[in-house]
């Protein structure tokens, strides 16, 4: 699938962000984009279109499921929700990510400091 481009995001990270956004409740693509925007302020900018191929990949792997429903303004919208497998995946991926980023942070903070 083209548009693998994820802006400033590392490959695979977008999936984790999407899953995380779906934890409280199911949401349509625009809501997911808004959530990422709010949660990450301007640090992580994504090209919003790339959400959709990412959602398809997650759906193919059984991490999210989708269903058509009505939006808050009464339009037909496709709602995505996280599956049990998705929650499990999110937990392990998040743990890996946190360990990794802590390790990198620790390395960067050792003397001589670059900051």
């Amino acid at each position: 699938m083209p548009r693998q481009d994820t802006g400033d995001l590392l490959q695979g990270t977008l999936g984790i962000l999407i899953l995380k956004s779906l934890v409280p409740s199911s949401a349509h693509g625009y809501a997911i984009a808004r959530w990422i925007e709010d949660a990450a302020t301007d640090v992580l900018r994504i090209e919003e279109g790339s959400l959709y191929p990412a959602l398809r990949r997650l759906e193919d792997r059984g991490l999210v499921s989708s269903e058509w429903g009505l939006s808050e303004n009464n339009r037909r919208a496709r709602y995505y929700s996280i599956t049990a497998a998705g929650r499990k995946h999110l937990r392990t991926e998040a743990a890996v990510w946190l360990r990794y980023s802590q390790a990198v942070t620790r390395v960067l903070r050792t003397e001589p400091s670059v900051t």
Partner: protein, 887 residues
Amino acid sequence: MSDDRRRTPRWRRYLRLTRPNVREDVDDELAFHIDMRTERNIALGMSPDDARREAEQRFGDVAPLRDALVDHDVKQHARIERAELLSDLRHDVRFGTRSLLRAPGFTIAAALTLALGIGANAAIFSVIDALLLRPLPYSRPHQLVSLGFGSAGEYLALRERLRSVEQLSAWVEQTHPIDDGHETVRAEGAAVTANLLSMLGVSPAMGRGFTPQDGTVGNNFVVIISHGMWQHRFGGAADVVGRRLNIEGAPYTIIGVMPSSFSFPNKNTEYWQPYVFELRNVGIIWAVGGKKFIGRLAAGASVEQARREVRTVWPSLRRMNPLWDPGDSYGRDASVTPLQDDIVGSARALAWMLFGSVLLVLLIACVNVANLQLVRATARERELAVRAALGGGRGRLMRQLVTESVLLALCGAVLGIGVGALAIRALVAALPAGVPRADEIALSLPVLAYAAVLSIATGLVFGIVPAWRATSPKTSVGSIVGFGRRATAGPSHVGTSAALVAGEVALAVMLAVSSILLLRSFVALRSTSTGFDAENVIAARVTPPGATFHEPERLTAFYSTLLDRARALPGVRGAAAVDKLPMAQSVWGVALRIEHQFEDAKHTLPDLGHYQSVTPDYFTTMGIPIQQGRAFSDADRPGAPPVVIVSRSVARRFWPNEDAIGKRVGYPYDTLWMTIVGVVPDTKQDSLRDTLSTSVYTPWRQRSRMSGEEMWLVVRATGDPASIAASIRRIVAEADRTVAVSDVRTMNAVVDRSLSTTRFTTVLVASFAALALLLGAVGIYGVMSYLVSQRTREMGIRVALGATRSQVVRLIVSRALRLAAAGGVVGLGAALMTTRALRQWLYGVSPSDPTTLAIVAVVFLVVAVVASSAPALRATRVDPSTSLRAE
């Protein structure tokens, strides 16, 4: 595939009103996103144009994304549908198995019916496969063609001239006494041109093949033997190549052994020797026909091309014949046929006829099972109605029922293959002698594949109608609430059932008509007079080795001694010899000059049907009376005036108003005249169907130079002729131990054997018809029982209103009779149209024989009465009070 999706409840699928529109969905989803962003931008204070531009910019390039998503979703849906279909199938199979197990009586009855149908089909198909479908076991067999018969001279000329036939070979059957050092037996072999084996693309497993050198006079004493002969006569000795084998008294050197898979022209052929062209002997080269020509087409040449070429080239040989002018029509209708067709010959039509009959049996079996399914569907009406109400669409329910039918058919196929395996064994054992490629008939892979395909097809055939009816909305309404089960089930189902049974009767009638026609032909053939008296006569084939008995004096002395010894046996009334025994082989004829009518050999001479050399006592021994003139005597010897005896038809044909005695006839390439001294009645010669009544007999001692050494000894006994069989074998061995004796049989047995194909066909078709009749009876019984059970209430009311038992019985039986009559009329009509195809197997009975039609009609009406009597009696036992209360 996600686990979640697989776990989507089945019923949810039926909520989908239409198939999803993937393209629209993707567009909607993307448009929704951009619209929402635009609205937010406006709320934040942007102008509508700026708001949309900003939203699109954030989103990125839409077109390629859209295409990628559509592509993904289309594939995804296809995957889901496949998975659902598979899971439906699994479910249907599980469901079908359960529902079949719940009704074991039905399942067993249906599976057995189908097993008989499929088994019989597999058996007959194995014959079709071996005879017609499997290619001949030679290299590139589709290129092999048969060019008919001709003389050695014609062969040599054609071989040189034909372009479309790359290689041309000739061969002729040989039967000679062979002596392997232990015993003398008559063995079948073939004399073949040196190129024949290599043309077939087969080389010996041991030793070498023939070289052109082997086919020349003096170098021809080499022989290639079959794998069978190597095993049986030489114990599979490794050093067999180079050993001696005496063929007709002359020593031949074994130069090769063919592989066990090889057979030519058939499995009985035990040895091949080179055909020798005696180029100096013009008479033998041009006058003796009967060589079979086979060839391999040149690359790219078609059978049709070859036929056109042969029909131009062959007539051009007319002037080459140094003996006589073969006439204007010479070679113009020469045939070129694929070798396979030539080998299979008349067995082809027989195989297709049997195949047609057995397909009818299977159709009847299908109809029967369809009927059983229908009856069962009534019992399951509530179940089906509930399913329909819960959202099972008609297509879905039908698929479920048809799956069940196919399952049932597969059970039938498994049993059927067992039945088929037994049937093939029985069939091969019963096969008449001379069926080509009979040894190849087996339960082969194509036969198994055929049975499998057939069972699935039959499952569909007998499954669809009941499934359609059972899921019909009309029947479903109301059943669910539980009221009026009787009321709704009735007439429409019975109607379909009755129509099916009528159809079944029609098919069975067709088969019955065919079988009775064949039966009547068989009876007619059996009672046909042969024209001779076979009672108390025994025959034996006596084969002296040609090499040592070439001298006429020696041969004459041998047969005189043999006949004297035969006459001296106790219980023997007379003995004689004939070169071609009637009913045992083809008694071929001869073209003759007729004095004052057809004298010039340059004109086409009349062909007479049969030609035999006989010893003087032949007519008395065979019980053929001399109607005019005299029999042959010992005085009709070489040097005495040549004489012949002709049959009544010959006399009538050439001298209708005169006395044939004293008239003269002659061989085509000779100047000699032979005087007719006697007239005998016409006799059947080739077979009981023989229609060629013109026979010519010569005294054996004045036989033509072409006749061989082999003769049939015929002996008339005072009592049971079989008791002197051993004595006949003994006196032949005593007279000369190098002479082979074979085929010792009573004349009655010989006549009987000539009927073996007819008997085989008759028995087979009759058993198919019996099976069809039985299935038809079961069908009538089934539908009448069903009718009675559906109309219990009506019967109760009738009885309550004072109907007598006989009135009730008459009601049911007349219904069955009407059913049988309807089917019967259709069946008889169809039979009238199809039995014409049987003409070639019929004898003394017309394809539309009214007696046969009447017999079949009566039989089926009787069957209808018998089959419906049990349900009818059951109807009379209906107790009005219970039946009325039951509602």
